[in-house]
Symmetry: C2
Subunit: 335 residues, 2 copies
């Protein structure tokens, strides 16, 4: 699966900026893929791209309409469908990371077949992955891991990829979730793979490469999340990570969705991830920690990070506030 570029970002009737965070992510990390945005009258989000009709977008070269907005109440409305049909009729593919599948909507399926256009439900794997072999692959790999879900693993991974590219390093972001797939145009939604094949799927999306090449693999879940640690374990083993970066949100009160589960201590979490990673790569090591300090004021954030850096002896940064340059410097020094 590889999405055709460039994209028209569909913001639909987004209630606010947060509802369109997928579109914003694509605009932030892959502005060169975006020719414009499509907004319905009631849209309250804005990705700072030219507003375009479907015909404007096609004239501007758009090949794929990407749904960059969450659907309210899980319903794909008739108003949306009318726009999607118009896009197909104009010859565009459509890509979506929603739970509801485009391929379950007869009007879209019929139109896509007629137009020979593709409907990509990127959350749902369409290829069969092999069982992991555990065999060492050439090239290098960095994996983000977390104390919890939704602590900034995708953001950190994309920031590291950008920093490495800016320094002229040979690197590719490898997406393991639907937003990452829509941003980069390829990848696998790890938590939707049949569990026998999680590690095999990750081996597949980060294949053998040239010795100087780095895959920057987006992590998922947490070894300490009672619902999703199986996904995380398979992902760590399949990645054969040389370098790990821990992501953490220090103000979170409990594990996401699990009110009875406290977050692990950062050092305990790092030790568990390292032990797991070393099964398939005995040389795995941490090269930094990424903190989402959005819940702290600047002084509290700086104090927190300074204390953690002192404790761990590793670069501790908020990618959003300070960038990830120091993590990449550590990575270069270690490898």
């Amino acid at each position: 699966m590889e999405l055709k570029k460039p994209y028209l970002l569909f913001l639909g009737d987004a209630a606010d900026a947060l509802a369109a965070k997928v579109a914003q992510g694509i605009k932030t990390w892959r502005p060169e893929y975006c020719v414009g945005q499509f907004r319905l009258e009631s849209c309250n989000a804005d990705c700072d791209l030219p507003d375009m009709s479907i015909s404007d977008a096609v004239a501007a070269g758009a090949k794929t309409l990407v749904i960059g907005v969450a659907n309210r109440g899980g319903i794909i409305s008739d108003e949306w469908i009318n726009v999607l049909v118009e896009a197909l009729e104009a010859g565009m593919d459509i890509a979506s990371g929603l739970h509801n599948k485009l391929t379950d909507i007869p009007a879209l399926v019929t139109c896509a077949e007629k137009q020979e256009c593709a409907l990509f439900d990127v959350r749902y794997p369409t290829q069969a992955y092999p069982v992991a072999t555990g065999k060492k692959r050439t090239g290098k790999r960095l994996l983000t891991v977390g104390t919890d879900c939704s602590v900034g693993k995708m953001y950190t991974s994309l920031a590291i990829e950008k920093e490495m590219r800016d320094r002229g390093m040979n690197t590719d972001f490898r997406a393991t979730g639907q937003t990452g797939i829509l941003i980069s145009g390829e990848g696998v939604s790890a938590d939707c793979v049949v569990s026998d094949f999680i590690s095999g799927a990750i081996e597949t999306i980060s294949p053998a490469n040239s010795p100087d090449h780095w895959d920057v693999i987006e992590g998922q879940g947490s070894l300490f999340h009672a619902s999703f640690a199986g996904v995380t374990t398979g992902l760590i083993h399949g990645s054969q990570a040389d370098a790990l970066v821990l992501c953490h949100e220090p103000t979170r009160q409990h594990m996401r969705g699990l009110p009875d589960y406290a977050l692990p201590d950062v050092d305990v979490c790092m030790a568990a991830n390292l032990a797991t990673a070393r099964l398939t790569n005995p040389n795995a090591q941490f090269v930094g920690v990424s903190i989402n300090t959005s819940g702290l004021d600047e002084q509290a954030a700086l104090s927190y990070m300074a204390a953690l850096e002192e404790q761990l002896g590793l670069p501790v940064v908020d990618p959003f506030r300070q960038g990830v340059g120091r993590i990449v410097e550590k990575l270069v020094a270690c490898s």
Copy 2:
């Protein structure tokens, strides 16, 4: 999914006893479910059950024909299909744990629909499982874990269930693989569940129960298996095990299917399993070790087990040679 009993075991054209090990497992652990066996002319296996034609079996009350034999080269032959169609026409359901699905064979699907009989491909989940909640459930749970795949987790679990029942304890075996499902008539094939839902599936098959009730949950894979540890992790978390039993095969040269991976030390493996289990049940503890000593002569086996028992301070038994009575005694003493 729950299979209707009793069963007619289909041994087909089994080349040898090993090819019919699923049927033998059902006969060993659930003889009361088995009215007879069906063998083709070239069959070289025998489960020591009355040989029956389809009409004999129906007359004897058989409700489900269970495929208890591996299909050669992954092919379901015409000779098999003729028998399966005859069974459906006589009103029986069919259950199979093969990779190839019964429901992919048009002749069977058509006939099953006409007869209103069911085709159970037990390897493939047909229900949607929820995301795990991690919430503590009433009742007690024992889980078998392993240093590797195929070291006796199902056998040990069934032996423990039988021993507990023989002592009048309130217990149920919970199957997590296709053979266990065919033996017990229900369960989930954990490695075929979408990875987001592994732990949730295990929570579902071992629900809240009376305080004196024990689920004996069949483990899968190993935390130290580079291909399947994600499945194992999710299974451990979903089980919320109070009691763990480690299964091990001491003569194995490397992890199954992975020539470059050595088996973990027993104590290292136990520590990792305990740390993982304690995320969802802080009181988890080991109550014994089950050794498959089939590769050792009796004296070597006894010496090996005695040394390990001395090292670990836990009952170490081969269920096949000594039974699991001492493990159950330890379980009772601990709980």
